[in-house]
Symmetry: C2
Subunit: 437 residues, 2 copies
């Protein structure tokens, strides 16, 4: 664990989490000006030490090449001028966003002189575990500080050198804005993740990003609430009323534009009335785009493809592979999606109003789409600003989650000696009146 | 398990939960008129069969007396004319509340012809485990139906006879409003609770109400998100600026008005500057009200009381027992509360603005109070209508939780063939514009 204040000292993750928890209320109480100052300092410090950051990143890249990591992972690990400029722009955007804290959500007089206020406030302490991407460390730290949350951060170990240099700069930036000593901490080893999972008394929310089995492991091994998604099994249903040319373009985009993304389509359900006309069309386009098709027995009657079985319906390929199946109608498509899907993002391609409305209302997913690519499920594309993650849970935050997912509320009740016995014994009555915010 | 549609059939809780999950989207899609019709039917059916309900309740009461259950439990078990009238009034109130579903929370144009809508919708399937109170079954069923959630209900077994009769009427009422067959189900045995805990693929939220160890057990033995609270260790801090007479009245109310409630005070922290004047005053009042005092060593120097040790700081007495301790100042009180408290409800008694503001901002609890009794922490008293429970978690719902806690949202995105490649490759740009709701 790296943290300037503890340099040289051996501090366990549990101890560090306790310190974060103890300081969290003071961070929550910091002014918007202070938190924005920290973001401004972050930008300045990163710029001043750009050479050192790039040098550290070079070390990480050398290690990655030596260990023959896949090109996609190396691409994410690279922190170059263009990603650096994007990171600085992200910090500036976040500074311009309004303060998410201290917003009054409700102001209600319960009785004369007894005023209830529901007000937004930070969650407290976050644990964020993310992929080996130096720009992610900057974005996540900035989101936490903007929202007044203390955070334990753990980035992919392939980026350890870059993260250490960047974290020290971010931490100093926060301290120089007079934020509490224990506002941010960096965990550096894989073993520390396990320790973090046991900190349910200190950590209010875990945000794991990464592979499906990794997130699944986190969800199964902690009592801390988790924001995120393990599976991303997204569907597209092609209704009998669909525009076939447009449908082909959308499916190609949803499968091939970035196949490793969680919002890439994995299963396409085609209305059986379209089998003869649409399947050959789609098959040709998919094959041209380099996509392998796995089709059910019925599909194999119309096109040449690999066989699909039930296990394919629950598989996130994260690759240029697609499952194709026929359905009787929109209702069967909806039932298939609710049963096999991961409640992430599912689309209908149709012109018929009734089919569209059924699909929008009955598919139980965070994002339900009409006539567009599932790849739009993303905080930036939703105009939410920086994205923390995408949640397939239904509580608190659902779908792409940004700054607002890092905020909760508390109730403040101010009286003048009010006691409950007066109301319970009929001497007083409540007079509820919502006041202007 | 009782459910008219399965009379005679053996259906496990898991199977039943699957059926609830399969029908949940159709319940979510029912109209507000239909759901209100179900509530109206409930009132009518209960009234028509009042005699049968009272007869069943008599059987439960006879059993309870035979088993020598404590008077407090028997009082909750009684379902008499007055509680019956209250239950009917509750149903009528709920009918008058606006539809919590289908509310647009956001309507944003992402680009020409690509419209994002964030819309409220039900959670899906709830599991609610509640105390032996027949009126609770009515209130909870009505809350679930009003909010379009399917629910598995398990009431305290002491109320089994009453619950069976009442549930059958409530279920018929829902079916006669043409709601889906699997909208409500009743679990009847304690073993079924264990089975319910394993249904994380079917159940979206568990709401356990009951004793501290019971809720703790639930929280530790399920992967389903839980709304509720195990502990209710509430504090009152008496600041050096407090009005001493008013403070005494508030403390007496918070401790004695209903000592078994989770929002009753357990620990009172007194500013040490007040020790000489306030402790004897408070002690006399508490003793007169029948409250046993457990004081720290410092407290024992000023008043005659039982000794308190650190374990008392973490104990919910749920009885006429109170821990008293001295603190140096408001800051020490805040630290004590954040460390030992259960983040439920904590109050400051003070006139000094600075102390009040520090306390309101820095105490990390769902409800933070000034100059009033902690006993106000309650959905009805907050004007929320019927209360489902009080949450000490920070995600989704915090503090007293009513109808709004049963609702989540989904994103709907409607396009005209929009694909992500156009934006990723620079052929198109996003033009975010929030539209009128």
């Amino acid at each position: 664990m790296s943290c300037p204040a503890w340099k040289g000292a051996i501090v366990t993750i549990k101890e560090k989490a306790r310190l974060l928890k103890a300081d969290a209320p003071y961070l929550a109480n910091s002014s918007h000006k202070q938190r924005n100052q920290a973001l401004e300092n972050m930008g300045k410090k990163l710029s001043e030490h750009k050479a050192a950051i790039f040098a550290a990143n070079e070390k990480d890249l050398a290690g990655a090449r030596e260990n023959k990591l896949p090109p996609a992972l190396i691409n994410r690990l690279v922190f170059d001028e263009s990603k650096f400029a994007e990171a600085l722009a992200g910090l500036a955007d976040l500074q311009n966003m309004p303060d998410p804290l201290g917003k009054e959500l409700l102001r209600r007089q319960l009785d004369e002189g007894l005023i209830l206020i529901q007000e937004s406030c930070p969650l407290g302490v976050l644990g964020v575990i993310f992929e080996a991407r130096p720009d992610a460390l900057i974005q996540i730290s900035a989101l936490c500080i903007k929202s007044g949350n203390a955070a334990m951060l753990k980035g992919g170990s392939e980026a350890a050198e870059s993260n250490r240099v960047i974290f020290d700069l971010l931490y100093q930036a926060a301290i120089e804005a007079a934020l509490p000593e224990n506002c941010l901490a960096l965990a550096e080893t894989h073993l520390e993740i396990k320790e973090l999972l046991s900190c349910h008394e200190e950590v209010d929310l875990l945000v794991p990003r990464g592979s499906n089995p990794f997130v699944q492991y986190i969800m199964e091994n902690t009592r801390i609430p988790v924001l995120g998604h393990a599976d991303g099994i997204c569907h597209i249903y092609v209704d009998s009323s669909a525009d076939l040319k447009q449908s082909t373009e959308i499916i190609i985009d949803a499968k091939t534009q970035y196949p490793a993304a969680c919002n890439a389509v994995e299963t396409v359900l085609v209305d059986e009335s379209l089998a003869e006309t649409f399947l050959p069309l789609l098959s040709a386009a998919l094959k041209e785009a380099g996509v392998r098709i796995r089709g059910t027995e019925e599909v194999q009657e119309y096109i040449d493809c690999e066989p699909a079985d039930k296990a394919d319906f629950s598989t996130e390929y994260s690759d240029l592979i697609l499952t194709l199946a026929l359905v009787r109608d929109c209702d069967q498509a909806i039932k298939h999606i609710n049963y096999y899907g991961s409640h992430h993002t599912d689309a209908i391609l149709a012109e018929d109003e009734e089919s569209i409305n059924s699909f929008l209302h009955l598919v139980d997913s965070a994002s339900v789409y009409v006539n567009c690519s599932t790849r739009f499920a993303d905080g930036y594309r939703y105009g939410l600003g920086a994205e923390l993650g995408i949640s397939t849970g239904k509580l608190h935050a659902r779908g792409p989650a940004g700054l607002e997912a890092l905020v909760t509320y508390k109730y403040k009740l101010c009286g003048q000696g009010h006691i409950v016995a007066d109301y319970a014994e009929g001497r007083k009555q409540f007079h509820f009146e919502d006041l202007d915010l």
